[in-house]
Amino acid sequence: MKETTKVALAGNPNVGKTVIFNELTGSKQHVGNWPGVTVEKKVGNFSHKDEEIEVVDLPGTYSLSPYSIDERIARDYIIEEKPDAVVNIVDASNIERNLYLTLQLLEAGANVVVALNMMDEAQKKGMKIDVKKLSEILKAPVIPMVGIKGEGVKELKNAIYEEVKHRREHRHMSMGYGRELEKGIISLEEEMARCPALKKYRHRWLAIKILEGDAEAIKKVSEAGCDDLIKEAKRLRKQFGRKLDEDMETYFADKRYEFVDDILGVVLIKGKKLWSFSDMLDKVLTHKVFGIPIFLAMMWAAFQFTFSVAVPFMDAIDLFFGWLGDIARVSITNPAIQSLVADGIIGGLGSVLIFLPNIFLLFFVLSLMEDSGYLARAAFVMDKAMYRIGLQGKSFVPMLLGFGCNVPAIMATRTIEDRKERLITILVNPLMSCSARLPVYILFAGAFFIGAEGSVIFSMYLMGILLAVLMALLLRKVFFKGKPSPLIMEMPPYRMPTFKSSAIHMWEKGSMFLKKAGSIIFLGVVIIWFLSTYPGGPGSDIETSYVAAIGRWVQPIFAPLGWDWKAAIALVFGFVAKEIVVGAYGTFYGISDADEGSTSLRSELHGAFTPVSAYAYMAFVLIYVPCLATIGVIKSETGSWKWTLFAVAYMMGLAYLVALVITVVGHLLGFA
């Protein structure tokens, strides 16, 4: 059988890569993860004439010397997997920096097809690019395009087809680095010929990389057992470094940009700098005084949109699964199976799907913000504040979203490239008090703090923020030593987001959540159902169930806090979702249809709590694991059970500690 023809899309971030990927593959795409990491891998395919072509959308990358996990993935794919062609998407309006990557791709020996995207923007900037001449110099096809209008897609498909059909090795342009250095490169290449294990790499590229001191290239060579080569490269580095009076890395970067300048001198007529719409927007959106208020207003709007518009959909899903459960109850007579299907399976599915409206809406909005370029401004505006607690600007949006729901908020941390910063943001996110915790606050504040409900509830939110800040600082100190990585963030011009891109993005996130976190959540719900139904079986008193046994068993731990076994059991149920704590109390006191506003439930609680123990209980509910879904999503986003268990453990510990402090201080101050 013939091997599939593979084509990779590579390019800088913000060049419209995803739009072109969507244009090429249409709906024939699927999203997964790259092996071992939680970086999205998008694969699609299209057929052209007699060829079926698989397209891999690589993460955006500025250079083949990787700086982040995303970039390492992009480079490894190009170097190790050697796709049949690499479509290098270049932002024509930003051609100077974009060509830097193009030169590196050619150097690596990739079969490059240049897609010169955003020609309309370049034109608006008054730039004139001689496409034909550029193609002649690069010795690679160059296709002018306007991706969002679909212009040039057909031509690109043709060019890809030609490239994979009539593959020609090493016919691409090769840039020189000066006579002295070339001698060194050639001597390394000759040496390399004696290393059969390195045959799969283009020798010239590898020689340049080890001269640049690229850690991973050196590792490859040393793994191939060619340590002589590394020694020789080291010697050359020293020799040239002294002669040139600068680092080799600097020299190579300078030379490449010099070469880009030479190319552009021939093919580009620069435009006059015009005041663009983008500049105008930025004057306002990142304004000294208005910048932050506007940002907060935008966030408020996004928040409202996500969490208010979702409500009717969530209600509908809730009703639907309730109805489905009723049907199951009516049509299945065996009580054990009836309960398994109605409460276990249908209930489990319901608690997974209930998150979908939030996730869909949130990622639709986030995608609009990202594609329009506003997300970079948001990070720019908030960076200093977040840097103080060992994070960076991009951490702010996920933290804020946590007030709505921690599940999509944790998924939104994918915009943070640095792994340490991303992990800290994920680990402290559950401390942001999500909306499911509010019913518990309302119930307890209404029962014990009449007249001060508002302030008491507000203090919970404040406590969450404070703890998140403290934990972020602590995690930095203990587990993630060092400072946040330097900020090197491109500020792309504002662009009109497209509905299609945002809709696809939203769909991908939703299906990702179902696939990755859904199974964990579902399993958790079924387990809790089992524990709360057995050993007595369906219909038996909840106080005889395993959950009650667990509650009684752990109750002594909570005795110093003044909580009875009912409180302990309610916390076990709260694992599934926080609002269930309220429902659990309703069940205990035999109050049907109990909600957070129920007066009879409130008066019952007076027998079980004092104001101090109630406040401690509220704090505990705030801090201990938000819900099963959050655990599921922490697992799927960190890709590590170790960090997931750590998150659960530290939140439980912290919750207990804070509740204990509240109890002790409360008693010391003379409150009951």
């Binding site: 500025y62 250079s63 010397s65 700086y67 930003n94 051609i95 100077e96 920096r97 830097y100 890395e249 600097t250 970067a253 300078d254 940009y257 930025d282 990142t286 304004h287 000294k288 005084v289 910048g291 932050i292 970079a376 720019f380 505006v381 960076d383 200093k384 504040a385 840097y387 600007g393 990585s485 330097p486 900020l487 090197i488 963030m489 491109e490 500020m491 792309p492 011009p493």
Partner: protein, 76 residues
């Protein structure tokens, strides 16, 4: 000689020395921050950090901490 971090928005300068070392330094260079390159300060964030500059025809933001290490020569 001036540090990039000291410049006010609207100022233009030429990079004389890139003092950022290590992988971050290399990344800045790959992003076009090389010796002899012309940069313009576009704005400083509302909280006073980071700053946004124009280089190689696009906009880049960086923190003052790194901008302190980049030596420039102010252009008229």
């Amino acid at each position: 000689m001036t540090r990039l971090a000291e410049l006010k928005s609207g100022k233009k300068a030429r990079i004389v020395h890139m003092g950022v070392k290590g992988p971050a330094g290399q990344r800045y260079r790959e992003m076009g921050m090389i010796c002899g390159e012309k940069v313009e300060i576009v704005r400083v964030a509302p909280l006073g950090d980071p700053m946004e500059i124009e280089v190689k025809g696009y906009n880049l933001s960086l923190r003052k901490e790194e901008a302190e290490l980049i030596i420039v020569e102010v252009m008229k």
